[in-house]
């Protein structure tokens, strides 16, 4: 792929742009339609519950350089990884706890997204 030709410094720069391009960005194993790991699936399910369908997802299983690059970028060792407005939010455990304690509704509000759970 074209990415393979990029030096790793370029990938870090690309990632900086990728996470800012969309309000909600998820790096996961598989796709929202077909998650390939229970933890990635949990993130997809949580977002779906809040009515967040319009987000950018990147499948790290298709790109091993991306898989390692995003870990370096966020200094976070595992996948999935969730970003809101370019800011790293965390992995599955953090999103789940934010869902449980109500913080997720507040964070989505800051992004201009009204959670479906408020309806």
């Amino acid at each position: 792929s074209a990415r393979f030709l990029c030096a790793s410094a370029d990938l870090q720069k690309d990632l900086g742009e990728m996470v800012k391009k969309d309000k909600v960005v998820v790096f996961m194993k598989g796709t929202p339609a077909q998650p390939m790991c229970g933890f990635s699936n949990a993130v997809v399910q949580i977002l779906r519950m809040h009515g967040v369908d319009d987000y950018a997802s990147y499948n790290v299983l298709e790109d091993s350089e991306l898989r390692e690059g995003v870990k370096t970028f966020s200094n976070w060792p595992t996948i999935p990884q969730v970003y809101f407005s370019g800011e790293f939010v965390g992995g599955c455990d953090i999103l789940l706890q934010m869902h449980q304690n109500g913080d997720l509704v507040e964070e989505l509000k800051k992004l201009g997204i009204s959670s479906a759970l408020l309806e």
Binding site: M36, G38, L61, W76, P77, F88, G90
Partner: protein, 125 residues
């Protein structure tokens, strides 16, 4: 490099316990090997869940708490440990809700891939 296959005793759990004990001085610590829930050979030590209760987490956001745990286990996370589920609580949070979360079921990754299953079977024989 130590083996990721702990058939007789859990080397990795011992390591995780000792590192988290040294760095975070937890008042409560649980380490569970959840590898059996994933498509890895029997006896693997690759997927773990930790529950850490420490006063060091007071005043820290979830992400900062998780970063402390990740940092303490940096070496393990870059080798044997493929998945680490973290619950990081303050002693007060733990007193008000002393429960361990559950991991979601594995979606397969390689579990849905029969060639990997065959490879794993072949490896046992």
């Amino acid at each position: 490099m130590w083996s990721c296959l702990g058939q007789f005793s859990s080397v990795t759990i011992e390591l995780i316990i000792s590192k988290l004990t040294d760095t975070l001085e937890p008042v409560h610590l649980e380490v569970h090997n959840e590898s059996h829930m994933h498509a890895v050979p029997p006896g693997s030590e690759s997927h773990f869940r930790v529950l850490v209760v420490s006063s060091q987490f007071e005043g820290l956001s979830l992400i900062k708490r998780h970063r402390l745990v990740n940092e303490a286990l940096k070496k393990e996370l870059s080798s044997c440990v493929h998945a680490l589920s973290i619950q990081a609580k303050t002693p007060e949070q733990w007193r008000s809700n002393p429960s361990l979360a559950k991991s979601p079921p594995c979606m397969g990754g390689s579990r849905g891939d029969h060639t990997v299953e065959e490879k794993l079977k072949a490896g046992r024989e």
